[in-house]
Amino acid sequence: MGWVTTWQRIKHNPMNQNRWQTFKNHKRGYWSLWLFSSLFFISLFAEIIANDKPLLVQYDQGYYFPIWQDYSELTFGGELDIPADYRDEYIQEIILDKGEIWWPLIPFSYDTFNYDLTEPAPSMPTLQNLLGTDDQSRDVFARLIYGFRISVLFALTLTFFSSIIGIAVGAIQGYFGGRIDLFGQRFIEIWSGLPMLFLLIILASLVQPNFWWLLGIMLLFSWMALVDVVRAEFLRGRNLEYVRAAKALGQSHRAIMFKHILPNAMVATMTFLPFIFTGALTTLTSLDFLGFGLEAGSPSLGELIKQGKNNLHAPWLGITAFISMAIMLVLLVFIGEAARDAFDPRKDCQ
């Protein structure tokens, strides 16, 4: 069965329509979902909103798109065969001579050093740097947009992979039960005893952790969150009469797990997801704050908080980090609340 028909089936199930209605009726959660999705959608185009390269350059009858392609200085009549630095006044001059430059809303990328500051970095918010600059004279607003994107992407990927692994492991343990279940549970007990933070610290001294390294290591531990609920649902589900009826029809184990029991387990899973997501966000931020997170120079909210702590005389750093984290987490918690209400089984009974 294709994805489209599966989606149609899920969409047209009256129970799911009911849930969607409940979710919509939960005004706070519904608006939070819209707001959060819009923010995330906008941040996906961070390169267009905040960049130190122009969106479009018109030069000598030709159009150039510096964001997507590197051009040599020679293209614009410069002297050296090096990539053009559009923030350089000389380059700007020669381009404007024969054409036009269109800049993004914020003419800084997350790693652009603003050399034109009138005061020592970190500098106060000005019209040029709306939220000021950090202690390396980088624009805080640009870093915030990129940092938000990477945090949400990280949390999304982590949630996605840990639920896939968690659901699969929980399903297998619960469905087959017996020895598989016993060994699985004991393994999880031992595995969850390993200290994740220490592992990350040790790793940080061995390799330079990047996005994927962090994701991999956190995945090693975060998949266990869902195992228990899914396993419980499958333990219950495998003895339901309609599951036995499916067995009597000759349905394979995989199909029974997917078609008959998994939908039941999805209720618990969907309720948990927003909270796993929030957890992943917070973990990444705290690792960055401690300095064991993403590589140096990456835009990240945790790093911004750290700067705020180190530069108490520049309150715009700490306040920006605090407000953005708070808004993000509050929106997510509201979404999670609405999802929890929508999937509340007591509502289904009515």
Binding site: P14, M15, E241, A248, L249, G250, N264
Partner: protein
């Protein structure tokens, strides 16, 4: 111990006048009036959803808060229940009237001993001290005829059988010698032999203590033998009431008549015997009991032990037995849903030797319909998905062909075409059972195993389903293995009957033989209990 002052001469223990009960805007009980005399048994009869339990619960004001009483009054032992405060009600509950429920498995707290649960009632209402409480507990257990009551005091509910638990419940209800005992389907969850014991116990207790009993049941057989007066409820209204003798001999209302006639009629047709379709030899399902660190098997629970049977085409084989006799285990083993030993020959092919893939081909010939029409259909799948699933498993992928087959099988079980896009929760119990039958039928099976297919249904619906099964058997020459604990059903549908006890066959033969001249003592016992023959 203080006896209630009975100087007040009230012959009616309970008087209900024009009672209506509503949940929100939905009125579920409408203008019901009846009264119960001291020492009499009054039966409230009706199908599920007719409002009989709601009526009974409102007597003790035990309904949830969203219930309202638009009009009517209830007078219990001379007290107006409706006007009573919470305190007054608490004093009435247990003292003037007490209640026993249907499910003895869940009405007792599994974490407390019998003594603790019994003495709680005594503490609450009588304020006895520890020593006299214990004596009274033993006395009560003796009253409900539990063997070795002293030892049972320390027992936990799971250590008692269903019948014993119901006896404990009765003991708790009687602890304060109430004027009225409300029994809400007290024996529905019990086996017939235990049911008879419990009903006889209630009768003798009534004679001893002189209390009135409000008996709620759907089983007219019980009413006939145990009640003095009866009232019939339909959709919240009292359609007819009177003495049991009157109603049973001369029912006025159509609904009462249909209830009285809902006893399953014999629908067995003649059949020609050829070669047996299914032959089972020395069939065993043993569950190992393990102990120790290495999980060594030291013994087995012999759920099914050495059963041999054969089934012919177009025949119905009834399997009868009490709960725990291994009926369901037997058929699940036959379908290889659980591990078993012994030969299962279907069309000379031994199913026991097949692997999963080979077995899949045979699954369409052997299908099963389960007991619970609410549990056996996935709530997340539409009727079409439910019925077509089997076809897809069997490797049919032509959408048109599948749709055609689904529609045909819906037609076969008497459901309309537009049912196809609906979901199970939009159907009634009887209709759901039809869907479950359609799911099996769409595969064109030769053998259909029916595991208590009608136990969860009301009598009138049960009759319709039995007629449907009969019709299908004739049309498609189906063979049925029909499992039930209800002897009247078995008698109505089977050609042959097999009596199972503790996993062993105690007797088998033609339906006529078994019912008219049972040879084994166990069968005789079962038949007696089912028809209340011993009382007459």
């Amino acid at each position: 111990m203080t006896h209630k002052n009975s100087s007040l001469v009230v012959s009616d223990v309970l008087a209900v006048n024009n009672l209506s009960v509503a949940f929100g805007h939905r009125t579920v009980v409408k203008d019901v009036s009846f009264s119960i005399e001291k020492g009499k048994t009054f039966a409230l009869v009706g199908e599920s959803g007719s409002g009989k339990s709601v009526t009974a619960l409102s007597v003790l004001q035990l309904l949830p808060d969203d219930a309202s009483y638009p009009n009517g009054s209830i007078e219990l032992d001379g007290t107006d229940v409706m006007a009573g405060s919470k305190k007054v009600m608490q004093a009435l509950r247990g003292n003037s009237a007490s209640m026993i429920f249907q499910e003895p498995m869940t009405s007792l707290n599994p974490l407390h001993t019998i003594e603790k649960q019994l003495s709680e009632v005594l503490f609450l209402h009588q304020g006895l001290n520890k020593k006299s409480t214990k004596l009274r507990c033993i006395e009560l257990l003796e009253l409900v005829a539990i063997s070795d009551p002293k030892a049972k005091l320390a027992a936990y509910p799971h250590e008692l059988s269903g019948g014993q638990r119901q006896r404990v419940m009765i003991a708790m209800a009687l602890a304060n010698e109430p004027e009225l005992l409300i029994a809400d389907e007290p024996t529905t969850a019990l086996d017939v032999t235990v049911q008879l014991q419990i009903l006889n116990l209630l009768k003798s207790l009534q004679a001893k203590l002189g209390m009135a009993i409000l008996l709620i049941t759907h089983d007219l057989n019980i009413v006939k033998h145990f009640a003095d007066d009866v009232a019939v409820m339909q959709e919240g209204k009292l359609v007819e009431s009177g003495s049991v003798v009157d109603i049973f001999s001369n029912a006025q209302h159509d609904y009462t008549k249909s209830l009285l006639n809902a006893e399953p009629e014999s629908v067995v047709t003649k059949q020609v015997r050829t070669k047996p379709l299914l032959v089972v030899n020395d069939f065993r399902v043993w569950f190992p009991l393990k102990k120790g660190l290495l999980q060594r098997t030291f013994d087995h629970v012999k759920a099914v032990d050495g059963v041999s049977l054969e089934l012919y085409q177009g025949e119905t084989l009834g399997i009868v037995g009490e709960s725990g006799s291994g009926k369901s285990t037997l058929v699940q083993g036959l379908l290889r849903l659980i591990k078993s030993e012994g030969d299962i020959f279907y069309n000379d092919c031994n199913l026991q030797n097949l692997n999963l893939t080979q077995m899949r081909e045979h699954r369409q010939s052997l299908q099963i319909v389960f007991q619970d029409p609410y549990g056996s259909l996935s709530p997340r799948m539409s009727v079409q998905q439910i019925i077509s699933e089997g076809l897809e498993v069997q490797g049919k992928h032509d959408d048109k062909e599948i749709l055609q087959a689904v529609k045909q099988s819906l037609k076969d079980v008497g459901l309309p075409d537009d049912a196809i896009q609906r979901y199970p929760h939009q159907f009634s119990g009887g209709q759901r059972q039809r869907i479950a039958i359609a799911r099996a039928l769409v595969l064109k099976p030769k053998v259909l195993i029916l595991d208590e297919p009608t136990s969860a249904l009301d009598r009138t619906v049960q009759k319709q389903i039995l007629a449907l099964l009969q019709d299908l058997q004739q049309r498609y020459q189906l063979s049925y293995i029909f499992i039930t604990h209800d002897l009247s059903v078995v008698r109505a549908v089977s050609h042959r009957v097999l009596v199972l006890k503790s996993g062993k066959i105690v007797e088998q033969g033609s339906t006529e033989e078994i019912f008219t001249a049972p040879k084994h003592a166990y069968t005789q016992n079962l038949l007696e209990a089912a028809t209340f023959a011993s009382r007459n």
